[in-house]
């Protein structure tokens, strides 16, 4: 058993860390303030292969393992949580289900485009009345000739305004409950596809989140992903992987909070010495660091489990996401506290981290849902 990154993973970490410092960090505050999508950063990332980390090489990706992938998400998120989640959704929620459930034609058609970052990927399952209860979704898909006609609204869709390839879920058989939901690969230029309103959010502002509106949207039947009725299963399995990405994002945010806190407490002087000399601060730093270490190991554990190939990693993914997101929230609370009044101002990075962290406890399955999954796996 080896608890260390291998040489190649270390090289990847180094490259992404340098990229994040040079290209992501300098503009993170501005993008957040302007609520501007990091399109230029994504272009640069695609040239380095960072938008196709797990896509197999035969389709133009790097074909890397999940651990390498999670390293990428963490390092990017450490400098900009918004860019981090866009990367995670693109790889885990858009590319992965096509890799896993797509036909050869679908893989050949869509994976190279996603790998090269020519189009951004998104995942549209959530609806105004179907969040944690995904099975209650109301979007319908009716087969008419060689097209599915899809009607419905999706909400809280990451990269909604700019995505070109979107995995969507709709009900094909109303009587069958969860087993009546099907998955589709949709392109934004399909007739009837509309981007709805863009949300003004508390945090991750550079990641644009919107509604998607399907009005008699025409989707060719070749774009059915998997078989009719497979949709719910595909959604859950995809979210398992996505959760590990969000966990990695949360670890990145927490790490940033720790980095800032260490730097600040060494510099800030009160009562004649740096506040790093005070036990209250030291204990906060110690607690933050310990939780982050644990969270990171849970992420690596889930990633490792996923790569073993048994297909059974829901519990590990849920544990990672639950713990990492709660760690991130705790870390940013402590970080702002350590910064005192200055941490409350927009001049300091921790203010943005504080706003960014909260969403990690909510999307891709709330902490409550994660607890359900973990308990469910133990109390069957």
């Amino acid at each position: 058993m080896q608890l260390e990154l291998n040489e190649q993973q270390k090289m990847i970490q180094k490259m992404v860390r340098e990229f994040a410092e040079k290209e992501v960090a300098p503009i993170a505050a501005e993008l957040d303030e302007k609520e501007e999508y990091p399109i230029k950063t994504l272009e640069k990332m695609s040239k380095l292969g960072l938008l196709g980390v797990i896509i197999p090489q035969e389709y133009g990706g790097a074909g890397l393992d999940t651990i390498s992938y999670e390293i990428v998400v963490e390092e990017i998120s450490r400098k900009c949580a918004s860019t981090g989640v866009v990367t995670s959704v693109h790889n885990s929620l858009a590319a992965w289900p096509i890799m896993k459930y797509g036909t050869e034609e679908q893989k050949k058609k869509y994976l190279p485009i996603l790998a090269k970052g020519e189009k951004i990927g998104a995942f549209a399952a959530t609806e105004p009345n179907a969040g944690s209860d995904l099975g209650a979704m109301a979007t319908t898909a009716v087969l008419k000739g060689d097209k599915y006609i899809i009607n419905g609204d999706k909400t809280f869709i990451t990269s909604g305004p700019v995505a070109g390839i979107i995995i969507i879920f709709a009900v094909t058989d109303k009587e069958a409950g969860a087993k009546g939901i099907s998955a589709f690969i949709v392109e934004s230029d399909m007739k009837g596809y509309k981007v709805g309103s863009i949300f003004e959010k508390l945090g991750i502002n550079a990641s644009q989140t919107s509604e998607l509106i399907f009005e008699n949207m025409e989707v060719p039947k070749e774009n059915l992903l998997g078989a009719e009725g497979d949709g719910f299963k595909i959604a859950l399995k995809t979210l398992d992987g996505g959760r590990i990405g969000i966990a990695a994002q949360a670890v990145g945010i927490a790490q940033a909070a720790l980095d800032e806190s260490i730097e600040y407490s060494k510099q800030r002087q009160q009562f004649g010495r740096p506040i790093a000399k005070f036990q209250a601060i030291q204990w906060m730093i110690a607690d933050m660091a310990t939780s982050i270490e644990a969270a990171r190991l849970l992420v690596l554990n889930a990633a490792y489990k996923k790569d073993q190939g048994s297909g059974r990693y829901s519990k590990e993914a849920a544990m990672a996401k639950l713990f990492a997101s709660e760690t991130a929230m705790d870390a940013v609370l402590k970080a702002v506290q350590i910064h005192g009044g200055y941490g409350y101002t927009k001049e300091y990075t921790v203010e943005r981290l504080f706003r960014d962290a909260k969403i990690t406890e909510i999307y891709e399955g709330t902490s409550e849902v994660q607890r359900m999954v973990i308990a469910g796996s133990l109390l069957r």
């Binding site: 040489e7 190649q8 090289m11 990847i12 180094k14 490259m15 340098e18 990229f19 040239k47 380095l48 292969g49 960072l50 980390v53 090489q57 790097a62 890397l64 510099q267 200055y342």
Partner: protein, 253 residues
Amino acid sequence: MNIIVCAKQVVEISEMKIDSSTNKPILSGLDKKVNDIDKNAIEEAIKIKDKTGGKITVIMVGEPDVKERMKELLAMGADEGILVNSPGDLDYSQLTTLLSGAIKKIGDYSIILCGEASTDMFSGQVGPRLAGMLDISQITYAQKIDATKDNVTGERNLGDTVVTLESSYPVLITVTKEINEPRLPSLMQILASASKPILEWSVDDLDVTLEQKVLTTDLQGISMDRKNEIYKDDSDDSIQKLVDNLAKDGVLR
């Protein structure tokens, strides 16, 4: 065209602290990296190779851990690495003798590229010293290079003038940081670097004699003690405090 790049592993100087009891810089425990300007040299080598074709060989002198740095340069685009195992602390005569021995063992080459200097010592001696040893022409402090199959033109930035030199091969060129922006290797390039060869040569493999010409007898730390009085805002009050302090320090005439 065969291009040789000489690179060096250096410590991360921004992390360096001075031991207050011995007044010596603490050299252990510092992160190690490839000398920044050597990456500019590799980047330039890749640009030349893209234009004229050929092979890029990186030579580094050091201990086995230097192989990690070598892999980074292979990932950037070098084709092959040669590590000369260093028998300990070397002066410039010994270092350059090893490099020259390795280059003679490699045999055929058109261009040797080096960074203008390494960030730790900032001497800039190795490049032109090597050119003297090999008795080949040199273009130092190049801010721009244009290489063809037969010759190379280099622009030297000398501060108040820019001198352009044209040279046939072989030639040694040292580059400045301004010459280019070193690329980050893509994921694919990192993967590909695993199969690129790294040869390891010992002093005995090279036909050389090492003689120490200069001995370092002491290393004294210089610590910069600054007041570090930082005003957290630009209020009129803070500005006034600063001006009063400057007056007190006697820098306002």
